[in-house]
Every structure is written in C-alpha cells, then in structure tokens.
C-alpha cells in the first residue's frame, strides 16, 4: 500500500543534471535518428523515470518497482533538449488510486534550465497487486 500522504507532494531533484551529447547520441542511435543536434522527443523520460524511481521507492512512499508497469505517457515540449542543458528536475505525485487491486499513480515531471521550463511530462504508473 502506497502512503496516501504523498499525494500532492513535489520532490526537487537533489542535483542539477547536465545533458551530454553522448547521452543524446546513444538514445538517437537506438531509434535510427541521425540528426543529434537536438534530443529525440521522448529523450526526457531517461531523466524523469529515474527520478520517479528514486522518489517512489523511498520507504516513506513504498512503491515496489519490480511490480511497476507504465500505463500512459504525455510530453509537452516547449523547446527541444540539447547537449549542455542543465536541468533542475521536479516531480509531483498528482493522484493515487486503487483499481482492482492495482495502485495507479499519476506523476508529473518538470525540467527547468534556469528559469526556463523546457519539458513537462505526465506518466501513469501502475503497481500491480
């Protein structure tokens, strides 16, 4: 059972994250994208998902990551990510509900470079009962 007190909380990433050209190149190579001047549109999941994992598996929240499946995903991209972007990442647990023994978590991730919001994304994560 996930701690319901976590709903509405926003967690700030502990560190600033710098996007490297190597990371963009590796991600682009998997999907056959040759233009690596900007990151592919789903690249930011690399940052958001690992932040969700570190937040949601904390004992006070208590998600079992091995039982997790991805329900849906949405990106709003204000400008493409480029190498050298330095992101402050904040993650917010928006809703939490139980359906048929599964726990369904809606989380939002905002990536800011300085004061500029670059990407917002929303994920529904399902913890299978």
């Amino acid at each position: 059972m996930i701690n319901p007190d976590s709903v509405g909380r926003t967690f700030e990433g502990a560190d600033l994250l710098t996007v490297t050209q190597t990371e963009i190149n590796a991600f682009a190579a998997v999907i056959g994208e040759e233009d690596t001047s900007v990151a592919p549109p789903t690249f930011s999941i690399r940052i958001s998902l690992s932040q969700y994992e570190s937040i949601l598996t904390q004992p006070e929240i208590g998600v079992d990551w091995t039982r997790l499946v991805h329900g849906d995903q949405k990106f709003q991209i204000f400008r493409p990510i480029v190498a050298g972007d330095i992101f402050k990442c904040s993650a917010t647990i928006e809703t939490l509900r139980s359906v048929a023994g599964n726990e369904i978590i809606s989380v939002r991730s905002d990536l800011h470079n300085g004061n500029e919001l670059v990407v917002s994304s929303w994920s529904t994560l399902v913890v299978r009962g």
Partner: protein
C-alpha cells in the same frame, strides 16, 4: 499542401532482443522484464516485452521523419494498452501509421496507430507538430 484526413503511409520497425538491450542501456531502464524471459514469465507476462517507452520512441521517430526533425514535436502522448512481445531469436514488427486530424496555423495534430503482430499496442496516441 497538408489537409485534415491525410493519411501518412505506414512504416514497419523491426524489434528484437538486441534493440531492447540497446534501449535499456540508452534510457537507463534496466527493468529485467525487458531482457529476461525468466523474470518476465515469473511476473505473469507471456514473454519478454518491449519497453513501452521504446515503442513510443520508435513512433516518435516516425513522427519526426514526417515532420522534418525532432525539434518539430510539441506534444506527444500515448496509452500503453498491450505489450509488444519479443521472443528470443525473433524480429517482431512495430507497424506505425498516422492521420492528420487537426490543423491550426502551423500546428498539425496527428492520430497515431501502432500495432505489433496485428494487435494494437498504443491507445489514444497523438502528436502535435509544427510544420
């Protein structure tokens, strides 16, 4: 001239275990259900499945190729309704197509369809691009 109702020709991406491993390394998502048959079956899956986000990344490639580059995508969303099942030693298809459903100035909204083995794997898949 792009018009509402235009159909973008479908394209097939090959998906195999090597691609899943490459995506795991590039994305950092090392969940073993995408690499180990034993783990996948132990949690009730039929076999190793592709990362939903790999499917979405490939659909994204289809969109950006049509739109003229990664920088053109403003919104992108999908629901993961069925897994792409990837047995060892096999190449399975991810077949992607799209229809133009809305045009507002230079913003074009696409409805996307993605199937594997004839089974629809994404629901409510949409992208907004500028072109």
């Amino acid at each position: 001239m792009i018009e509402v109702g235009d159909v973008i020709p479908a394209r097939i991406f090959d998906v195999d275990r090597a691609l899943l491993k490459a995506y795991a390394d590039a994305s950092g998502d090392q969940n073993p259900i995408h690499q180990s048959e034993e783990v996948a079956i132990s949690v009730g899956l039929p076999n190793v499945i592709a990362h939903g986000m790999l499917t979405m990344a490939l659909v994204g490639k289809f969109v950006t190729d049509w739109a003229g580059g990664s920088a053109k995508v403003k919104e992108f969303s999908a629901r993961f309704i069925k897994p792409v099942i990837v047995p060892a030693g096999e190449k399975v298809d991810l077949t992607v197509g799209a229809t133009v459903v809305e045009i507002e100035g230079n913003r074009i909204k696409l409805d996307l369809v993605a199937t594997s083995g004839g089974v629809k794997v994404l629901g409510m898949a949409k992208a907004v691009v500028v072109k």
